[in-house]
């Protein structure tokens, strides 16, 4: 996934779309928006980042899971099998992005990149509703995909690359 931080206005549509699409319990969310103030007075500006699970290439959450409930699917999406999760919290501790939370039913829940939509060829809910079209979803392994081209053209960064998880959400500068 790639997100254009220059286009993002922090409206929170992605957050609401996700909550609706995935029936996220009240008070929780699988994605969220971070607002930062950048620059020095009087040259201040707001910086928005729509954040979620980074579906890392090197997943500390999957590594620490004692039951194998946390796993990486074939396409690289990180998921939790609810029936195998014991709710120990190891993956929550392991994630430097705080992308996981306890569902009120006990198991750990997180962003699935809306794999139920993706397998039908649709975009994840957050991407599909974005009013500024700042989010792009696609196959990073395919060099001809729109997202691969975008990442080649535009300067981009990832969040906390120093944590060593090889995050797979890219922010376009």
């Amino acid at each position: 996934m790639a997100i254009d931080v220059n286009k993002c206005v922090g409206c929170g549509d992605c957050v609401v779309a996700c909550q609706t699409e995935n029936n996220v319990p009240l008070g929780y969310s699988r994605d969220w928006i971070m607002e930062f103030v950048k620059g020095d007075y009087p040259d201040l500006f707001l910086h928005f980042e729509s954040q979620r699970c980074n579906h890392c290439d090197d997943t500390p959450c999957v590594r620490t899971c004692p039951t194998g409930a946390s796993h990486v699917t074939e396409g690289g999406i990180v998921k939790v099998t609810h029936d195998e999760c014991i709710g120990c919290g190891a993956c929550i501790e392991a994630c430097p992005y705080d992308a996981r939370y306890f569902h009120p039913d006990g198991y750990v829940d997180k962003c699935t990149f809306c794999d139920h939509r993706v397998k039908d060829g649709l975009d994840p809910a957050c991407v599909s509703v974005c009013p500024t079209e700042c989010m792009h979803f696609g196959d990073l392994d395919d060099p001809e995909s729109e997202i691969s081209k975008l990442l080649k053209e535009r300067e981009n960064y990832t969040i906390l690359p120093e944590a060593g998880t090889k995050p797979q959400i890219y922010y376009l500068k």
Binding site: V15, C65, A90, E93, D105
Partner: protein, 332 residues
């Protein structure tokens, strides 16, 4: 740059910092280390042929290990959010997950902690009566009853007695694994720089064994045994201090996040409780008291023993709490 807000992220255990593991986990780490220490000494002194000289260490101490482990397990399960699925831990063994290692190690160690005292059951009764702990013979009676009801097949006990040397060796090995695991469990999280250092395994093992020796020295009535445990404990405290200093040296020489982690203890909010209460009253003070005892001063042994046990628990509470506060800063 200042973080203003995070839309809809008011989950209290994620912000302002992760706070998922609390008192149950730190107490469990303490109990696991304590049980590991008790069993380690039992196996070690049995293998060294000191069964007669150190009856408490070899035979009676392990009697406490099983209830200690069970209490730890209860706390662990209590802390799970999806409790009914706990059996999933034992449907798989994952080499890369410290918690999976721990779950299996705990099963093995708790079997040992039950079989070991059972294999000594006759001499334990005599000891307890001589010691004036006649009430505790009820526990051994219960264990015998359990055994006779075939819950624990007798041939296993007979086999255990016959090959006790071999099993003692295994118990020594697994108690070390258990002791180290309590530290490795935390050091496997690179999202928390304070935990993410390799010295935590040996440090937790040393601290656990030290609480084990304090436990034995507290409850044993044999003067020689107490003095020996006291001397051993002093060297363990010295090793622990050495590890602690090295831990902070390593962090101070590390990247920014490691320095920030160390700062929690070097001027930050854990400075007083860590250096003053844990290092001062839980390590150095009992060290001095034990040294005085060895020099011939009369010190009630219960004082250094309790200080070390309480220090061990406090150390784990501090490490679990401070570790969760040590995170990578989420700024672009």
């Amino acid at each position: 740059m200042e973080k203003l807000l995070a839309t809809d992220r008011n989950i209290d255990y994620l912000y302002p910092h992760v706070d998922v593991w609390g008192f149950p986990i730190s107490s469990y780490l303490f109990l696991g280390g304590l049980a590991a220490g008790i069993l380690l000494f039992a196996a070690l002194y049995y293998l060294l042929g000191k069964e007669k000289d150190m009856p408490f260490t070899v035979k009676i101490g392990p009697l406490f290990a099983f209830p200690i482990i069970v209490l730890g397990l209860i706390l662990l399960i209590f802390d799970l959010h999806h409790k009914l699925y706990v059996w999933q831990l034992f449907m798989t063994a994952r080499a890369v997950s410290p918690m999976s290692w721990g779950a299996w190690t705990l099963v093995i160690v708790s079997i040992f902690s039950l079989l070991w005292p059972l294999s000594f059951i006759d001499s334990i009764d005599d000891y307890l009566v001589k010691r004036g702990w006649s009430n505790m013979t009820k526990v051994t009676e219960y264990l015998i009853k359990l055994e006779h009801k075939w819950l624990i097949p007798h041939f296993i006990i007979i086999m255990f007695r016959k090959y006790r040397k071999f099993f003692a060796f295994l118990m020594l090995l697994f108690s070390i694994v258990l002791g180290i695991y309590t530290g490795i469990l935390l050091s496997a999280f690179n999202a928390h720089p304070l935990w993410n250092n390799p010295i935590l395994g040996p440090l937790f093992l040393t601290s656990g064994v030290s609480t084990g020796s304090a436990f034995v020295m507290w409850l044993s009535e044999n003067k020689k045994e107490r003095l020996l445990m006291s001397a051993i404990d002093m060297s363990l405290i010295a090793i622990e201090l050495f590890f602690i200093v090295h831990m902070f040296m390593g962090m101070e020489a590390g990247a920014e996040v490691y320095k920030q982690a160390a700062d929690l203890f070097l001027g930050g909010e854990f400075t007083a409780v860590f250096w003053g209460v844990f290092v001062g009253m839980g390590l150095i003070l009992p060290f001095i008291l034990e040294a005085m005892e060895l020099k011939g001063f009369h010190i009630p042994i219960v004082i250094p023993a309790i200080l070390i046990l309480a220090g061990g628990l406090l150390f784990r509470i501090i490490m679990v709490q401070a570790g969760q506060m040590s995170e990578y800063p989420m700024f672009p």
